[in-house]
Amino acid sequence: MSKKTYLQAINEAVRQEMQRDPKVIVIGEDVAGGQGGSGEVGAVGGVFGQMRGLYKEFGPERVIDTPIAESAIMGAAAGAALTGLRPIAEIMFVDFVGVCFDQIYNQIAKFRYMFGGHAKTPLVIRATVGAGLRAAAQHSQTLSPLFTMVPGLKVVMPSNAYDAKGLLIQAIRDDDPVIYLESKTLFGSQAEVPDEPYRVPFGEANIVREGADLTIVAFGAMVRRAEQAAAELAKEGLSAEIVDPRTSSPLDEDSILESVAKTGRLVVVDESPPRCSLAADIAAMVADKGFASLKAPIRQVTCPHTPAPFAPTLEDAYLPSAARIEAAARSILERAKEPA
């Protein structure tokens, strides 16, 4: 047990699983780095270094650098999984999914159903998500709704280093295809992370903070912003409960509904634009199954209906901030005082 970063947790999870199971391979662009070059091979380990050191430990047969061809990467992972391997395929930035979405949503996600349950596709697609790096419209998306809407996929969004390791190990051992979304802005965040392998199960939310007046649901990088907002609200005795579902598919509906049953108020935070978002998905679920306990409108805090802007001034206003979460919370907590 020791403090590790989110980045180290990811790297450790993959390394330990590769040591445990020879069927686990890593495939993607520059997951090793340096192939064909005049210098060192394997020094890079992915543009953010998540796979660092794996090439040297496991070699070119299991840490496979590819041409820039995401459809072929995803297809190769699909075919390898169908035939007995457990590939971990990387999409460097989730934004690139547009060039390989067919392999993910029409192939990988659907094999099992189309083939009447006779196929198994155990693979993990890792991708980095989120804005904040001033990387503009094509390198700053989160796209969690894009994957959550697809039957056959499981979607994981770790919000801290502990979950990052445990959820990734679960993803690798899972017999279904899993989309594992790494928040770029969390790579440096630290937590106590056990040295030994462990799993964090899917579909089990983490109650990050207990509270009585209001429920805030947030994923990935948005969890810390929710915590900051909750801390502000606490200063005035307003107590917010924070639910981090950890996985958007499967979704731990019960934990969310239990929390809303207690608080009667809900704010959902999502790092995506508003339409057909995860925020809408969860708000709608509660407006159906949790309606009886609702005391106020369900607020969604999302990005605006625009692409991600480049300029820091714009990008800072683009992402849901602690201040916007707090304001959304206040706007429905006020209601507490109104006559019903």
């Binding site: 190769a76 075919g79 067919d102 009447g116 349950g117």
Partner: protein, 323 residues
């Protein structure tokens, strides 16, 4: 090279089984017994059978929307196929896949694919498994001439070459992609030259001649199993029917259609083999009688079988375990 009498019988049995099965599919589709779309393999039998003839159940194939022939060539049972194509619960995919998604992984058949260009990248992955596990097995990617223009196919060719994966790309050039001629849709002189640009060896083969396809495939297998990387075949064949059952085909002249039907791989095979005195007409007749009886029985059984029950089957098989 010389095939044994048993092999010759097996080759003819496979081709004739495809022919008989597909003709029955056309009949049942027209009669309304087959839901959805049906793309039949009539005229291309020598291609599928020639390519799959020396493959084992541990070798894999990725197929297309026109996959019935590939299934049969790979040894998939027509009984389960007919049930599936008629959307019956007992079908290979429990009636959930149908003609465009028919699959049989136990036989190394990774599925028909209703996305043009969907299968080649998947075949590369199946080949990577063979390479990593050193099985000496291969993966075959069946791809049409129309599909040969899809970016995913070029990516797969390049990826297979770069990773030296034991993939054999079987480009079945039947002259048309839907209602558009290959001569219009494929830039460059022909498919094989485009393929060679990626560094793969690529042979152009007469797809109406089983022996030509089989010989080329033997070279391909030697290459791929020998660890020399991917190999490709451009197999020129004829599409006897329309793109789908019911296609009026106004875009093909009566002359061209008539001419296409003269290049029939099945009588050609029978003629060549009888001429060479390797099999007698009686041998062929016996095979045909048996095949016809088998397809008849498969069709009757499928017609009589029940469709899946929504209450029991609609939401199963999405995940191995959800949550």
């Amino acid at each position: 090279m010389q095939l044994s009498r048993e092999d010759l019988k097996r080759a003819y049995e496979r081709m004739f089984l495809i022919r008989t099965f597909e003709e029955r599919v056309v009949k049942e589709f027209s009669a309304g017994a087959i839901p959805g779309f049906a793309h039949v393999y009539l005229g291309q039998e020598a291609s599928g059978v020639g390519v799959c003839f020396d493959l084992t159940d541990e070798d894999y194939i990725g197929s297309t929307h026109r996959g019935h022939g590939h299934c049969i060539a790979k040894g998939v049972e027509v009984e389960g196929m007919m049930l599936e194509i008629m959307a019956k619960a007992g079908g290979l995919c429990g009636g959930k896949g149908g003609s465009m998604h028919i699959a049989d992984l136990k036989k190394g058949m990774l599925g028909a694919n209703a996305i043009v260009g969907g299968a080649p990248p998947i075949a590369v992955g199946a080949a990577l498994t063979q390479k990593l596990n050193k099985t000496g097995k291969v993966a075959v990617a069946f791809t049409g001439d129309g599909a040969s223009n899809q970016g995913t196919v070029f990516e797969a060719l390049n990826m297979a070459m770069v990773l030296q994966a034991p993939v054999i790309f079987a480009f079945e050039n039947n002259g048309y992609g839907e209602f558009t001629a290959q001569s219009y849709a494929c830039g460059g002189a022909n498919i094989s030259d485009r393929v060679k640009g990626f560094g793969l060896p690529c042979e152009v083969v007469d797809g109406t001649d089983f022996f030509a396809v089989h010989d080329a495939m033997r070279r391909a297998l030697e290459h791929a199993r020998g660890g020399q990387g991917p190999y490709a075949l451009e197999i020129r064949c004829k599409r006897f029917q329309g793109h789908f059952v019911g296609d009026p085909q106004g875009y093909r002249s009566p002359e061209e259609l008539a001419e296409a039907r003269t290049a029939d791989p099945i009588p050609r095979f029978r003629h060549a083999v009888t001429e060479a005195g390797l099999l007698a007409d009686a041998d062929f007749d016996a095979i045909e009688t048996a095949v016809e009886a088998r397809v008849e029985a498969a069709a009757q059984a499928a017609l009589a079988a029940p469709m899946p029950d929504p209450a029991r089957d609609l939401t199963t098989d999405v995940y191995v375990r959800y949550g």
